[in-house]
């Protein structure tokens, strides 16, 4: 015989279990915040042409299309130069420039799980292809090209591959794990790769994040070994953790954007070198709790940085001090470009419209120069 109170007890337990189920749905799982990475939004100057990568369309998902814009010469007009016949939802990665050709990698997106690589030698009018990379990492210097046609790619799994002109595929160069296990990597306590470049002598350079304070993780390939670049940080930064945010080559100069410290005491500075062994440091600029969103490079080692809060700073060349720019013009994404010494362009993207603003030498306000309506093909990737 089943007594009613037993059934009542069982039903009550069921309700309690149900209640627990419902309550647990409200609990948020605490998880560690991922380390901040720089946006792939950037610009670079190569043989007089300025290239800028800008996210447009939707803010995310299959209607976000990354666009490539080209400014053939300072004073001319920006034009759309996005590589054709490939969906750019996963982002474009501009290779750190090393020659006349611009190499662009396309990050995986949707069903595409590898990275096509394409090259233009005529300002984006025509394109050829290199063999695909297994999958480029999600940072702006995951791809680097040398003047002789060599290309380095950092994959999302930390593998580093190299392509030699005319080869049918990529060959392994190293990996984050191998580099971390090398004497140079152990000295720095390498925890992540953050960028690649070629020296003017076509030697591979890699950058990363060191766990040991006061160590800037820049490594140069010498023969078959990797050696750590000697970056002598000032005494005030020697106790700070250093992260290499960007690594690139402009002309004959290798340049790295560093972030030292964290939180409200963090600051940024550049390290530059012409021989990859002796690195000069710029003055440090306090970030005052802001974060670096993106960075762009121009001639003579100039760097422009977009920070959170609509703020931007520029360093006009090696040895110059950091200077705060006027409040950035409105736009969902603003990319700075440095087409000529003293001239700063701000490319403000919002949906399918790109507005080019200019800050001419000696002026203190942005002037609207050009509006480009980009014919985004909404729905074409879904």
């Amino acid at each position: 015989m089943i007594r009613p109170w037993r059934i009542a007890l069982l039903a009550w337990l069921a309700v309690l279990i149900a209640g627990c189920g419902s309550a647990s749905g409200h609990l948020a799982t605490a998880s560690a915040a991922p380390p901040a990475t720089l946006s792939l939004t950037t610009s670079t100057v190569m043989s007089g042409t300025t290239w800028a990568v800008v996210p447009m369309g939707a803010a995310s998902g299959p209607n976000l299309f990354w666009q490539l814009f080209a400014l053939p010469q300072p004073g001319q007009r920006w034009s759309l130069a996005t590589p054709p016949d490939i969906a750019t939802n996963g982002a474009l990665v501009l290779a750190s420039p090393g020659g006349q050709a611009l190499t662009v990698g396309i990050r995986p997106s949707l069903y595409l799980d590898f990275s096509p690589v394409t090259v233009t030698r005529d300002h984006g009018h025509s394109w050829t292809t290199l063999p695909p990379d297994p999958g480029l990492a999600d940072f702006p210097d995951a791809l680097a090209a040398a003047a002789d046609g060599q290309v380095i790619a950092i994959g999302s799994g930390g593998q580093v591959s190299q392509y030699h002109q005319g080869a049918s595929g990529w060959t392994g160069l190293t990996s984050q794990r191998s580099l971390a296990a090398s004497p140079a990597g152990r000295r720095c306590g390498l925890t992540a790769l953050t960028g690649a470049a070629y020296t003017s002598a076509a030697a591979p350079l890699l950058a990363g994040t060191c766990s040991r304070p006061g160590q800037a993780g820049i490594f140069v390939r010498t023969g078959d070994a990797w050696t750590a670049a000697e970056v002598a940080l000032p005494a005030s930064l020697r106790g700070q953790a250093v992260r290499v945010l960007r690594l690139t080559t402009t002309g004959t100069r290798d340049i790295a954007l560093l972030e030292a410290g964290a939180g409200s005491t963090a600051s940024m500075l550049t390290a530059s070198s012409t021989d990859s062994s002796h690195w000069m440091l710029s003055a440090a600029s306090g970030l005052a709790g802001r974060q670096v969103i993106s960075a762009s490079f121009g001639a003579r080692g100039s760097v422009a940085v977009v920070l959170t809060g609509g703020r931007a700073e520029i360093m006009s060349g090696t040895g110059s001090p950091w200077r705060t720019l006027p409040t950035l013009p409105p736009g969902r994404t603003v990319t700075l470009a440095l087409p000529a010494v003293g001239t700063i362009d701000a490319l403000a993207a919002d949906g399918g419209t790109l507005t080019a603003w200019k800050l001419a030498p000696g002026t203190v306000a942005w002037a609207r120069e050009q509006v480009i309506k980009v014919p985004i093909q909404y729905g074409s990737s879904s």
């Binding site: 009613p4 309700v15 666009q67 016949d85 949707l110 595409l112 093909q377 990737s381």
Partner: protein, 618 residues
């Protein structure tokens, strides 16, 4: 949820037409079976009764033969099942049930519930016509069966079947009634209507003696009382948002219900109640907590005089909730049942009726009304063995002795079988029905003429020509190796077609030609193969060549490609050709993969495999 539904439009005309056609055909078969059984029963029974007129059963309504509480459940839930079956006939049900009913019910449940429900939704979406029609007939059949069999073993069996089907619906269709999801409340149907159907079915399945003492009534009311008291606690629990007015959980739920498509009068009523909750949320929740708590406490006592009063209050509360909060349960999208309040009231009513000791049945009358099955159930007369019954004379004797309830139950069982059999046969095949592919791209087109020749390089670097494939059926398509959406889906359809072909696959060649002349290197076709898991598929080749050579092939087959601006992938034809073993074009298939769900991919795979098999057979 991946794979949950077919992704087709709910009212897709191809599927709706097939659904209607299936229902019509199965309906005709059901009517024929009912007619044959009825004629057989009447023709055999009437002469027999004429021969022995003394066996004419005593006059009296058959539906009064079982105890009142059981009768309430049997007839009430029988009618509910009939209504549910009729609601399943809605044209959009075949495609829409996974996407508009099952998926939303699971969306806020834990991952393990979603996985389970996703499996069910995927299973449904593979064969929407067969499963959709099966549900109609199963629910109509159960409803008829419960109504037709008042007593005896067949009646109890109807309860078992009803409980089992309700359990399936509760788990897979209602995601356990949402009891594992946040926001659980009696007001919106917890613990799920189908669970109440299941409890009712189990109660109907109990032996007759269980209903003749007040114990069952006390158990039913005790269980409900504890449940309602628990619901009162959850309703009153601070932080769950039920005490707030304008911004509260209840207001949001009622307001969203008021916006569903329904008759104006009903919308005004629900909207008005929503405003009342918005303005006096605390008071409304206080009433809800009080009703739940007090009726729950009274039900727990099992004391008949107070239970009667509580029952009236509870039934009024159920009806008010059904009208003002559940919106009668059938409006807004694809209504599948009138929700939980009517079943809840029926259960409480049955519990109350079962508190009274029922009189012993009039055995003789019951036997005549229900036939030999009821005799077997009561254990009085074992009757002949089944082997003996199947002999012609014995069968005739069984038919003569069978009551209307037995005959009607047999008809109801046939109705259930008519729906369940095609569904079971469809589910026995792992691949989806080809109707999904036809719904997306229309039927396969027959074409003729010699297939354009080509000599290109495969993903392994070897030269392959169409002429070298002579003797095999070729399934040919054009794919972009750097495509981010459709081409990978089409490649998977080809892969599935190869798997479905089984041993025939070695007589078929699956061929793709690179449609993107910019990414023309073998390294790209090889990377695509790796990405899609095609590298090890023996009969698959992905061909590429110089841009000039590729464009020549495009012209031969009339396929087009177009460079689109601003970071869009290459636009091109999604098409496949079936080339027979002598190198002649045989069929052309539009291969736009549509929503690209697991069901549609499998459906295209089926379509391709069928097309290849037809060529092999010709």
């Amino acid at each position: 949820m991946p794979g949950m539904n077919s992704g087709l439009d709910v009212n897709d005309p191809t599927v709706v037409a097939a659904f209607r056609s299936a229902l019509s055909h199965q309906g005709i078969i059901a009517l024929l079976i009912v007619a044959v059984l009825s004629v057989a029963w009447v023709s055999v029974r009437r002469p027999a009764l004429v021969e022995s007129p003394g066996e004419e059963p005593a006059a009296g309504p058959a539906w009064l033969a079982d105890p009142a509480g059981r009768r309430l459940l049997r007839i009430g839930f029988g009618l509910l099942w009939l209504l549910d079956g009729l609601l399943q006939i809605q044209p959009g049900m075949a495609v829409g049930l996974p996407s508009q009913v099952i998926e939303p019910s699971a969306v806020s449940s834990p991952a393990w519930v979603r996985h389970l429900v996703n499996w069910a939704g995927t299973t449904w979406s593979y064969h929407p016509v067969q499963v959709g029609a099966a549900v109609v007939w199963i629910q109509l059949g159960i409803g008829l069966w419960l109504l037709a069999a008042p007593t005896g073993a067949l009646s109890r069996l109807a309860g078992v079947v009803s409980a089992a089907w309700a359990l399936i619906v509760w788990v897979f269709g209602e995601s356990f009634g949402g009891i594992f999801a946040p926001g659980l409340t009696w007001l919106f149907g917890a613990p799920g209507a189908a669970l109440l159907y299941c409890v009712a079915g189990m109660a109907v399945a109990l032996p007759g003696r269980s209903w003749r003492t007040p114990r069952l009534g006390r158990a039913v009311l005790g269980g409900m009382g504890a449940f309602l008291a628990g619901m009162a606690v959850l309703q009153a629990w601070p932080g769950r948002g039920f005490w707030q007015g304008t911004s509260g959980t209840l207001t949001g739920m009622v307001q969203s219900m008021a916006q569903t498509s329904q008759p104006r009068v009903l919308a005004d009523l629900v909207s008005g109640f929503g405003s009342l909750v918005g303005a006096h949320g605390f008071a409304v929740n206080l009433v809800a907590v009080a009703v739940l708590g007090l009726t729950g406490a009274v039900f727990l006592t099992g004391w008949r005089p107070v239970v009667r009063v509580a029952l009236i209050v509870f039934v009024v509360a159920c009806l008010a909730d059904w009208l003002l909060i559940e919106d009668l349960g059938v409006f807004g999208g694809l209504g599948t049942d009138p929700n939980s309040m009517i079943p809840m009231a029926l259960l409480a009513g049955a519990g109350y009726l079962a508190l009274t000791r029922a009189p012993e049945p009039a055995s003789a009358a019951q036997e005549q009304l229900s036939g030999p099955a009821s005799s077997a159930a009561s254990g009085r007369a074992a009757g002949p063995r089944w082997g003996a019954r199947l002999r012609s004379a014995a069968l005739r004797g069984s038919l003569v002795n069978a009551g209307f309830g037995t005959m009607a139950s047999a008809c109801a069982i046939c109705v259930i079988a008519i729906g369940a059999t095609p569904m079971a046969l469809a589910q026995a095949t792992p691949n989806a029905s080809a109707i999904l592919a036809q719904a997306i791209d229309g039927p396969v087109n027959a074409i003729s003429g010699p297939a354009g020749g080509f000599t290109l390089t495969d993903q392994r670097g070897s030269r392959v020509s169409l002429a070298s494939l002579r003797g095999k059926v070729v399934l040919l398509t054009f794919l972009d190796p750097v495509c981010v959406s459709e081409c990978p889906l089409i490649a998977q359809e080809f892969r599935q077609a190869g798997q479905l072909l089984g041993a025939d696959a070695r007589r078929v060649k699956l061929v793709a030609i690179n449609i993107n002349p910019l990414y023309d290197e073998v390294s790209y076709t090889r990377a695509f193969d790796r990405q899609e898991g095609l590298a090890g598929v023996p009969d698959w080749v992905y061909l590429t060549g110089s841009p000039q050579r590729l464009r020549q092939v495009y012209r031969e087959y009339g396929v087009t490609s177009q460079t689109l601006p601003a970071g869009a992938m290459l636009g091109h034809s999604d098409i496949a050709f079936v080339i027979d073993r002598s190198g002649q074009l045989a069929e052309e298939l539009d291969l736009d993969p549509g929503p690209g769900t697991a069901a549609t991919q499998s459906s295209f795979g089926t379509e391709l495999a069928v097309a290849a098999r037809q060529q092999l057979a010709s």
